[in-house]
């Protein structure tokens, strides 16, 4: 029986080459017409240590980590037992290991999975220069029924620069792996893919970078931080090619300050960080809100508080994103609903930040940012300049913070004659001159709130799917697994509504109430301890029934099975 999805974990010590074969496997599957996800798991060591490539391949788009892995393939067992909670197995799973490398960890065998011993190293030794990881890749590709020619093309393309001898050795090792006998039935064979549409292979971090550029970002400053660094590294060679600038700042305080400086210069600007960096940036975030500066700030969330778990995911920065800074400081907070959506949501964030003259915080997370995904090729366009720029001005006429109905006032940039203004974090009057008068304070606070509250964000604030009297609300990386859980429940006759909120602040209260009309129960699903979104939704009073919370901290990704049981009980109660 062929399957619509298969989940494979490839594990071994650092240097065993599991990441290499993981990326080859995904690319070969993608080129054969499949969709898929590829996440990397590694120990806390800077280099070396245990490593695992986690893959899920399917005939349709894959947006969730699997409930269980169908196969764990280990080149060696190093300290692979440390991944026991991150590579869940069940009785129908397969553990494939080389008997020469010892026995699989007890914690993994306890799942009842079938152990299948294969001599990777012995088989590799039959090939001059052959490596066990390439043998394992041959085995896995045969298990999945992948086209061997496509796989060889990918392997050759990936290692071509290393020379003919290594290419030949890899090819031979791959074939040696394919020639090993498969277990009975070939249970992991994938169904044939549908006619492939044009697709991309991209990580969430890369998608954020592309979205930012499409939105018009031409200045980026950042400070190295896991798991956000790749966004900046990817942009570093690209921005100059587009006539833009990228700076590595001395710290996050400087990174966000540089971005606000560039924005003042009239250039759409962005900074990228993770939780600890966002904590530092809160100071200038408040300044940018007070001075009404367009700014995009991407937070690729990781486990917190403090240094937390740098390499693993959590959705626990929501409170900081929505409330961070002293004073009354409304801002935009958005979260992509999938890896593919990271591009469009980041691009939209640029447009909104520019149009509304306010910082937009984009909440991605490690799981979305560092996972590579096969997505349908996105529809692309360059955003128009959405900053309201002042036209030619008469001397002494310009008022930067003019009170308007929309709350938005035309901006000038250095070089514009008669447009001079001094940006200020001090409370100011319409000209921008510091003022501690109550009427100026009230008028400017009201203006800054009004421009967000009165803007028409249209239908993009959320993805609203399904119907029924039970509704699930999600955001960010919990959207994918929740969609999958709901699809299973719907297939077994249940009815459920799903609201995946893309625009978290300002909360679209009326639209949310409309999306939830007629519901009996509402549950908010998120990966943090406190249920931060649930608390926020309760506080706003936008939900017509009591808000219930399904929240737990990271670092383990949410899996569909965690929700299926709870939601099915709810539907029948």
């Amino acid at each position: 029986m062929s399957r619509s999805t298969v989940a494979i974990a490839l594990a071994g010590s650092g240097g065993a080459g599991v990441m290499t074969i993981g990326s080859m496997l995904l690319e070969a599957a993608a080129r054969s017409g499949y969709y898929g996800l590829f996440s990397r798991l590694s120990g806390p060591q800077v280099r070396g240590g245990e490593a695992a490539a986690l893959l899920r391949i399917g005939t349709v788009a894959v947006e969730s980590q699997p409930d269980y892995y169908d196969a764990l393939v280990a080149i060696d067992w190093g300290h692979v037992e440390r991944f026991a909670t991150e590579i869940p197995l069940q009785a129908t799973s397969l553990i494939v290991g080389d008997p020469r490398m010892g026995e699989p960890p007890e914690a993994m065998l306890a799942s009842g999975a079938t152990l299948w011993k294969l001599p990777f190293s012995e088989q590799a030794a039959t090939v001059r220069g052959g490596r066990p990881n390439m043998v394992a890749l041959g085995v896995v590709s045969a298990l999945l029924g992948l086209d061997p020619d496509e796989l060889e093309r990918v392997v050759v393309a990936k290692i071509g620069a290393k020379g003919e001898a290594i290419i030949e050795a890899s090819r031979a090792a791959l074939r040696a792996g394919r020639s090993l006998p498969l277990p009975d039935g070939g249970a992991l064979a994938l169904a044939s893919p549908a006619d492939p549409k044009p697709r991309w292979l991209i990580s969430g971090n890369e998608a954020a970078a592309v979205g930012a550029l499409r939105g018009g970002i031409r200045f980026v400053a950042g400070y190295p931080i896991t798991p956000a660094t790749e966004v900046v590294e990817w942009l570093a060679p690209v921005l100059p090619e587009l006539g833009g600038t990228l700076l590595q700042a001395e710290d996050e305080l400087a990174a966000v300050g540089m971005a606000v400086g560039a924005s003042y210069g009239g250039v759409p600007a962005m900074t990228v960080t993770s939780g600890p960096g966002l904590s530092l940036m809160v100071e200038t975030l408040g300044l940018a809100i007070a001075a009404e500066m367009p700014l995009v700030l991407i937070d690729v969330m990781r486990g917190g508080p403090s240094t937390g778990i740098p390499t693993k995911s959590e959705q626990s920065d929501l409170n900081l994103a929505i409330y961070g800074t002293h004073g009354d400081a409304p801002r935009l907070v958005l979260a992509p609903v999938s890896i593919a959506d990271t591009l469009a949501t980041t691009q939209w964030s640029v447009e909104l930040a520019e149009a509304l003259q306010v910082p937009a915080i984009v909440l991605s997370d490690q799981g979305m940012g560092q996972t590579r995904s096969v997505i349908d090729a996105p529809a692309l366009h360059d955003s128009p300049d959405s900053r309201l720029r002042a036209g030619p001005l008469e001397p002494d006429s310009y008022r930067r913070y003019a009170i308007t109905d929309s709350g938005i006032s035309p901006m000038t940039a250095p070089g514009d004659a008669h447009g001079q203004w001094i940006g200020d974090g001090l409370t100011h009057n319409e000209r921008g001159t510091p003022s501690s008068a109550a009427k100026d304070h009230h008028a400017q606070l009201a203006k800054r709130l009004r421009k967000l509250e009165s803007h028409d964000f249209g239908a993009r604030w959320a993805e609203v799917e399904g119907d029924g009297e039970v509704a699930v609300i999600t955001w960010g990386s919990t959207v994918g697994p929740t969609r999958e859980a709901i699809a299973r429940l719907v297939a077994s006759g249940h009815r459920l509504r799903h609201v995946a909120i893309r625009l978290l602040a300002p909360l679209q209260r009326e639209a949310l109430a409309a999306a939830l009309r007629g519901v009996r129960r509402v549950i908010v699903v998120e990966v943090n301890q406190a249920g931060q979104l649930a608390q926020y939704l309760r506080a706003t009073g936008a939900i017509p029934v009591p808000v219930e919370s399904h929240a737990r901290p990271g670092p383990l990704p949410l899996r569909p099975r965690e929700l299926v049981e709870t939601l099915s009980r709810w539907c029948s109660q």
């Binding site: 690319e27 993608a30 080129r31 044009p198 697709r199 991309w200 292979l201 991209i202 890369e206 592309v210 550029l213 499409r214 200045f219 400053a221 690209v238 100059p240 090619e241 587009l242 006539g243 600038t245 700076l247 700042a249 001395e250 305080l253 400087a254 990174a255 966000v256 300050g257 540089m258 971005a259 606000v260 400086g261 560039a262 924005s263 003042y264 210069g265 009239g266 250039v267 600007a269 100071e283 200038t284 300044l287 001075a291 096969v374 090729a377 692309l380 940039a413 250095p414 070089g415 004659a417 008669h418 447009g419 001079q420 203004w421 001094i422 940006g423 200020d424 974090g425 001090l426 510091p434």
Partner: protein, 276 residues
């Protein structure tokens, strides 16, 4: 910079109608006067200049000019100025502030601005005291100066910002005095003309919390006859300096940061790498 078609500019063209909050006799008036004179002499109109600051008495200066500018958060004038200048190399960017803003809360940015060598001018109005919060010691305060928060003095070694600047890579280092706005204006004009990061430490007395600084006018004297271009020699001079010599101490040979590149590719082209 010569633009013969422009009408001749006057220092008052660079002043705004906002009344300074500074105390009568504050040294910072001298910096405002020097900056407006220097701007008129440089000959670029106010809309092509941006004056950027942090927080503190001296950081209120941008609003008193008719240029573009920003009065941001405490200590962060330099990152803002660097971002602005990097994105808009056509604009003349001048960062200003005080010793607390620049050497204490913004100390790290100062070091890295010297290293980065972006083409801008940084003027620090140093009065060895936090004035806006009413009289606390700053990094340049003498160790035995007595005040409410340090009743026995801080006992801390005062920072030597010019030595720090020469070690960190600043390309132009000078000291001015607010009692001599014409001399200070000349330093600012030279700083603008010199490529890279130009740092001017300005002795700017606080008549309210450090009234004894009124005597600085007697202590100030001419500094080096010629600026040095060797960092080690400049550092030696600055380390043995009494802190009151005015003039240009160092002019480095670092070149201007690269100008903005012209766009050479399109997004369609860049995105091609993702297509399967």
């Amino acid at each position: 910079m010569n633009a013969p078609t422009l009408p001749k500019l006057d220092p008052k063209d660079f002043k705004s109608d906002v009344k300074p909050i500074w105390c009568p006799g504050c040294g910072d008036f001298g910096v405002l006067a020097a900056l407006t004179r220097a701007s008129a002499q440089v000959g670029r109109p106010p809309e092509e200049i941006a004056v950027v600051s942090g927080i503190g008495c001296s950081s209120r200066l941008p609003a008193y000019t008719s240029a573009y500018g920003f009065h941001g958060v405490h200590g962060r004038a330099l990152p803002f100025a660097i971002g602005l200048k990097s994105a808009r190399p056509d604009i003349e960017v001048i960062a200003v502030g005080g010793d607390g803003d620049g050497y204490s809360i913004g100390g790290n940015h100062f070091l890295h601005a010297c290293r980065r060598n972006v083409d801008l001018v940084y003027i620090v109005m140093d009065n060895h005291v936090y004035g806006m919060t009413k009289g606390q010691p700053s990094p340049t305060t003498e160790p035995d100066w007595i005040c409410n928060i340090a009743p026995a003095g801080t006992g801390l070694h005062p920072l030597n910002p010019m030595t720090l600047a020469v070690a960190a890579g600043a390309n132009f280092i000078a000291r001015g005095f607010t009692g001599d706005p014409n001399g200070l204006a000349r330093l600012i004009v030279e700083a603008i003309a010199w490529p890279g990061f130009a740092f001017i430490e300005v002795l700017s007395p606080c008549v309210t919390f450090r009234p004894e600084q009124k005597d600085w006018k007697h202590a100030v004297h001419a500094g080096p006859a010629e600026p040095l271009s060797d960092r080690a020699r400049a550092a030696a001079v600055l380390l043995s300096d009494d802190g009151f010599g005015t003039g240009i101490f160092f002019k480095g040979e670092r070149s201007r940061a690269h100008p903005l590149p012209a766009a050479s590719r399109t997004m369609d082209d860049i995105e091609r790498r993702f297509a399967l």
